[in-house]
Amino acid sequence: MLKRLYIHNYKCLVNFEWRLDGLQSSLLIGKNGSGKSSIADMLTFLRDIGRGENDVSALGREDGFTLSPLSLWNGRRDSCEPMVFELDAELDAVLYSYRLVLDFPKKFQKLRIVEERLSQNGKPSFTREPAKVTIAREGQPDAVLGHDWHSVFLPTFQDASQNAPVLLFKKWLADMVILTPIPFLMTGQPVDRLAPLKRSASNLVDWVVRLQADSEAANQIGDYIREVFPDFKAFAIRKLDRDASYGPEYLFLRFFDEQTSEVPFFLLSDGEKCFFLSALLRASATLEKVSFCFWDEPDCHLATHEVGFFIRALRALSGQSILTSHQLETVRQFPDEATFVLLRDTHLVPTRPPRTLEQLRDAKELKGDLSHALLTGDLYGE
């Protein structure tokens, strides 16, 4: 379970610490430009590291963006301040703390790693200065080796212990589902059946292919879809022409009982595609295939009367979930102590550390009705 995030000098997040204190489900709110999606960026970089990407300039590339030096706070090359990412996660009663520090010295073309560290329950597994890595070994002297300063060390690091706890941490990072869905890009065609789900969910059908091999998952997906579409019967991946022996395959959804009532996935509306995505996510989480999900604005394509149900279902995920939103109905599904507000006054100042609605109420900075404060912008100091 994710316990803490620390981000320094990445976009508008400067000395930004977020403690989740064991919350299974939490919500981030804030006006546009307050840094909600930047947190998703940071998690994407760490997810890619977990998946084995060690080239610092390739982090995020699969999702169409990169960890650019321009991401430094205000993009200032003359700044001596490095960019810092820290993440604490508790898995099987072990607290993993990972820290990655990057800078951008003059005459460099890309970011350089100046510090990297992984510890378990406070005990270092490895530490790294720009090009020197020190690996702690139980009962033996530390191992020291050289490493390229543009290359992240964590993907290379292997733990010799029997239970492979570092592997567990890397797997947890790799399995994080981070979503900013773009339904327009969800074509309904499998592309690379082994590829992990992209942030845009454009390759969602690859996920369907993997999940449908498990009949229990397929049944659960069907059950979840029927909550919204009672006439839904089944889904299948097949060629456009049933009798064709070759040609591209597509995802079809069958409504009612007749085979002729099949609808290609790409004909669904944006909102309907999001319902399908949430059904996949819920089935995966129930079967413990997903333990952490960050979904940026899950409600933006949905009909108003569906938002509450949709968010309620995501809150009930078996794993940990973090959502962001601007919608009142979404905010109303969360208790004050699990709703974090990001406040940023202008483009010239960074985002302030997150505070819960409960903390804002206690400090009398939020008075009266939440809907009024949201609709007027009073909540964000407008």
């Binding site: 029927r226 909550e227 919204v228 009930a316 599904q333 208790p335």
Partner: protein
């Protein structure tokens, strides 16, 4: 089960943010986080009287499958308790804190949130424990609604 106005469904009108969190906490605990789609929580108006008015109107317009529960603060006002809980409309129920949710929250063993107050109320409801429920007005209405929901296999 899909939300369908021709099937049994429940709309819960809450007076304010505190009651909304208590109700959500209650439902999450009672249904172990899988709240059925036939239950919807609404917060459309402010103040106990306008909440009651909106809830009664929604109930009157909703047909025989609709149940409406209004959750309001009674603020220790005996007159309000009499006015709000008077029997007169089928499928309409009212419950709420005898005083204010803030005061009830202080009764929790450790400083709690409104959502945890809702969780505790659900646990006590299931266990027939009566430390918090004496502070709730009209529990009988909730019992009756719960029995109705049980008859419909909702819980």
């Amino acid at each position: 089960m899909a939300s369908n106005k021709f099937r049994w469904h429940l709309r819960i009108f809450v007076e304010d943010d505190a009651n909304r969190q208590i109700v959500n906490g209650f439902l999450e605990s009672f249904f172990q986080r899988n709240i059925p789609r036939c239950i919807r929580v609404l917060q459309s108006s402010r103040g106990w009287d306008s909440t009651l008015k909106a809830a009664k109107q929604d109930c009157a317009e909703g047909g025989s499958c609709r149940r409406v529960l209004a959750v309001i603060d009674f603020d220790g006002d005996a007159n309000r308790i009499r006015t709000a809980t008077v029997k007169g409309q089928a499928n309409f129920y009212v419950v709420g804190c005898r005083e204010e949710p803030e005061k009830l929250r202080q009764l929790l063993q450790r400083p709690g949130h409104f959502s945890t107050l809702g969780n505790s109320l659900a646990r006590e409801y299931c266990d027939n424990n009566t430390s918090l429920w004496p502070h709730i007005v009209n529990k009988k209405a909730l019992d009756s609604l719960m029995q109705d929901a049980k008859d419909q296999h909702i819980c």
